[in-house]
């Protein structure tokens, strides 16, 4: 019996994952708990195990596809029978164009989410029966992926093959048509040709109407797609005026996009003659996750950055002194564990820096535990492993834990749990160079401390300029929760500890 396996929730709050690699092929026999795919989510690559003993009947996505959690990724034959050819899978999505695939798959899943329910009006259901089309395999172009009469007719015309279904709104077909008609200099005529539903009215009569009849949801879609509904070719003429369906709006929007894409293609084609001037790198995986989180943080928490410089001669001396001892014990001593301890001491005295804003309940959650995230640059991008309960750990313990976590992050074998639950983050951009920066808060934390390069800089002392080891500090705070004065006080405390490392003995 074929059983569908949906992409499980691979971590709290994760909405989607990228299929990095398939570990099985169609026809393979798998055992329960055997990994079938590597999925990259929220900075970690996890292996997704099979929940069944059986054979792989179908892989629903290509490597590199981003799949929403809950979408079917594999169909298994659970008895282990190999009946790959027995029944054609209803929604065979793999095809050349990955983007189109993702779109189709998402639409199909929206229209038939939950218990495989398909969302289509009764008249469309009847039409599907008449045309002998399995609705479950049709991708809907209506609101939230609802299947329309046009979708069913398109499916019937395409001989019931799912790749071709929903072509009415597929950008690919639009591109071809528009390019074919590029000479005509009349995009609207191209639009009408794209329509596969046959419902499109005379384009000349449709454009620039003063009044258009449409369902509320259609108007909303038009607004979302940035389309003036009065410009959309009418789906039908009614007594009160031209009526525009949602499918028509989408077609029109797609066609316009296609026209733009054609322009872009032309421009790029022109460039190609004189060599590659641009390269396109997919915005995916860790890069995309980082991007999303940064944007969320920046646009949610009003950032203010406080800059300061600690004079850390004493700390440098202590480290020099302890370095050989550490090496004897088998670990490399960096400044970071001291800074972690100094930060924890600062957080204890200024608890608002170790907090989170619970927007829903309108409460500031002050945390009495100290989980310090350390931002690590890896080949794949920024990752933030967390040192848990840093207040309860000694400098050597922190040093060792950091070494392990950073290694794991660089090898990308770090687990999600090891990157979750942070209460405050440190980012050491100075390791690469530079003095000050504007760190973005690791939201929903409320503060982040950036460290510049620790090096000798001129310091004024009793009227003289002397060379001292200094550490530039850049502290970004969520100004909703923390005021500048509190930030400055915290920075002062951290500085005090860094400048007098013996005080750390009391911590």
């Amino acid at each position: 019996m074929p059983t569908e396996f949906k992409l499980p929730d691979v971590g709290e709050g994760v909405a989607e994952g990228e299929i990095v690699a398939w570990l099985v092929s169609e026809g393979d026999t798998v055992e329960e708990d055997q990994p079938v795919a590597e999925v990259e989510t929220d900075k970690a690559v996890v292996e997704v195990p099979s929940p069944y003993d059986g054979t792989v009947k179908q892989l629903h996505y290509a490597e590199g596809d981003v799949v929403p959690v809950g979408n079917v990724i594999v169909t298994f034959n659970v008895e282990g029978e190999d009946d790959l050819d027995a029944t054609p899978a209803p929604d065979e999505t793999p095809a050349a164009d990955e983007d189109a695939d993702t779109e189709t798959a998402e639409a199909a899943s929206a229209a038939s989410s939950g218990s495989g329910r398909t969302f289509a009006p009764p008249s469309v259901r009847r039409l599907a029966r008449e045309l002998d089309i399995d609705l479950a395999s049709v991708s809907g172009s209506g609101p939230s992926g609802r299947i329309t009469e046009g979708d069913v007719r398109a499916a019937a015309e395409s001989g019931g093959e799912s790749e071709a279904r929903g072509e009415a709104s597929a950008p690919k077909s639009a591109v071809t048509k528009v390019t074919d008609d590029a000479e005509s200099d009349e995009p609207k005529s191209a639009v009408s040709k794209v329509g596969a539903s046959g419902a499109a009215a005379e384009p000349s009569a449709a454009a620039g109407r003063e009044k258009t009849l449409a369902a509320p949801a259609t108007r909303r879609v038009a607004e979302e797609l940035g389309v003036n509904i009065d410009d959309v070719p009418a789906s039908e003429e009614r007594e009160d005026g031209a009526f525009v369906s949602e499918a028509a709006v989408r077609e029109y929007a797609d066609a316009q996009q296609a026209a733009q894409a054609a322009d872009t293609a032309e421009v790029r084609a022109g460039d190609a003659v004189s060599g590659e001037r641009e390269e396109r790198v997919p915005y995916r995986g860790v890069r995309r996750t980082i991007g999303k989180q940064m944007a969320e943080s920046k646009y949610t928490a009003p950032h203010v950055t406080h800059h300061d410089t600690a004079v850390v001669d004493a700390l440098a001396d202590v480290r020099e002194e302890l370095k050989p001892v550490a090496e004897e014990r088998g670990f490399r001593l960096t400044y970071m564990p001291f800074i972690v301890k100094a930060v924890v001491a600062g957080l204890k005295q200024h608890p608002y820096l170790n907090s989170q804003l619970d927007e829903e309940n309108e409460e500031i959650v002050l945390k009495n535990y100290y989980n310090i995230g350390i931002a690590v640059a890896t080949d794949a991008g920024l990752m933030v492993p967390v040192i848990r309960d840093a207040d309860e750990k000694t400098v050597p313990e922190i040093a060792e834990e950091m070494r392990d976590l950073i290694e794991k992050a660089r090898e990308r074998s770090i687990s999600r749990e090891e990157m979750q639950g942070g209460t405050f983050t440190l980012t050491n951009f100075g390791a690469i160079g530079g003095e000050y920066a504007t760190p973005i808060i690791n939201y929903p934390e409320t503060a982040i401390l950036g460290l510049g390069a620790l090096e000798e800089r001129p310091v004024a002392e009793d009227g003289d300029v002397v060379a001292k080891e200094t550490l530039p500090l850049s502290l970004s705070i969520d100004h909703r929760v923390i005021d500048g004065a509190v930030a400055a006080e915290f920075a002062n405390t951290v500085q005090e500890y860094l400048e007098n490392p013996s005080m750390l003995l009391l911590e």
Partner: protein, 474 residues
Amino acid sequence: MVVGDVSTGTELAIIGAGPGGYVAAIRAGQLGLDVTLIEKDAWGGTCLNYGCIPSKALITATDVGYEADTAEEMGIHADVKVDVDQMTTWKDGVVDQLTSGVEKLCKANGVNLVEGVAEFESENKLRVAHAGDGQGSETIEFENAIIATGSRPIEVPGFEYDGEHVLSSRDVLDLDRVPESMVVVGGGYIGMELSTVLAKMGCDVTVVEMLDDILAGYEEDVTSVVRQNAQDLGIDFRFGEAASDWEKRDGDIVVTTENEAGEEFRYATEKAFVAVGRQPVLDTLNLDAIGLEPNEDGHLETDNQAETDVEGVYAIGDVATGPMLAHKASKEGQVAAEAIAGEPAALDYQAVPAAVFTDPEIGTVGMTEQEAEDAGFSPAVGNFPMRASGRSLTTGNDDGFVRIVADEESGFILGAQIVGPEASELVAELGLAIEMGATLEDVAATIHTHPTLSEGVMEAAEHALGHAIHTLNR
């Protein structure tokens, strides 16, 4: 063939002329089939004669009286007198008009009407015994048959219906006067609808229910509104008790009940009304002759065209699996008729609405929040309390609510539960929404007439979207 039998042939024989059978007959007639409709009792079946229609007539009549009697707050002071005879005459008139309408419509669509009790003789033959001595029987050879024999009330052992002391719903709908007191056995929808009628007419009603709440299968917040109102009408509830015995005493009767612990309770009452549910009528059909057997629940299994395991034999309505509802029977009848006529009809509706005509009414369709969750959706739920509805307040009835269950991700409406005035009508909009694959936004963005109860539907959709106007959002 028995001597004296008449033998006829038909393309489609339909057994039972209830809302499933007669609808199938008319549709089949429209599609050009030669149809024979067999009814043993009355055109229109239980629904028209002994169920939906007469009960709704009585519910409306008693509502009119009760509302006039209790409208002092609105400044209406009425001295209501109920003439039960007149009420019965009016009710019977409504029933007659409908049943004769069914008969006329069938004839107009070329349906052959046969009165009698049908049983299968073989896979393509029915024998119909006509009522009355010497009326004989006839054999009908069919190409296709639809079983639409409906259901009958379940009897509780020891409480056989006698029409005098122990009544069925049919007896209650035919009472010629209001009893002083009534013990109603069963708090399902039939028990609750008729308890409400009786209480509004001044009868002292005690409902005995084995379970710990009325209206099994409905959510607690739905039933609690109805239960509270019933209590306000003076209905007593005895939960966790099962009727075990009864005896006559001084012209009245005493009903004995038992709880799980074996404790006995006795209720002196004028009459007892047993409404513990209904069972499909299949035992009169001689199903063995065609090799058909009911499933464990006593129903016939059918495919998505209402066809049974025996080719050419269909089953619709209460005898088929699914809820026992007239509108479900009618839809199945249409599909069966169309399928037999060669059309690509199928039972693919997304939601079967249900209504309970209690005070206030209940109207439900599709999934509850729990069912949506179980089906793998992540449900978004919107609520609108009737007390926030201007129209509801102006009817003097502001109990209840509209609740819409939708899929959070796509906004598709999956179900609705409505309690309140006209809930049975209001639910239709959401049934359509589900069938059409409408989203919360579609319903919320549709302008609803003010001031109407239907605004509550729009508001509930808005609430689910987090921007209700007349209630506080979550």
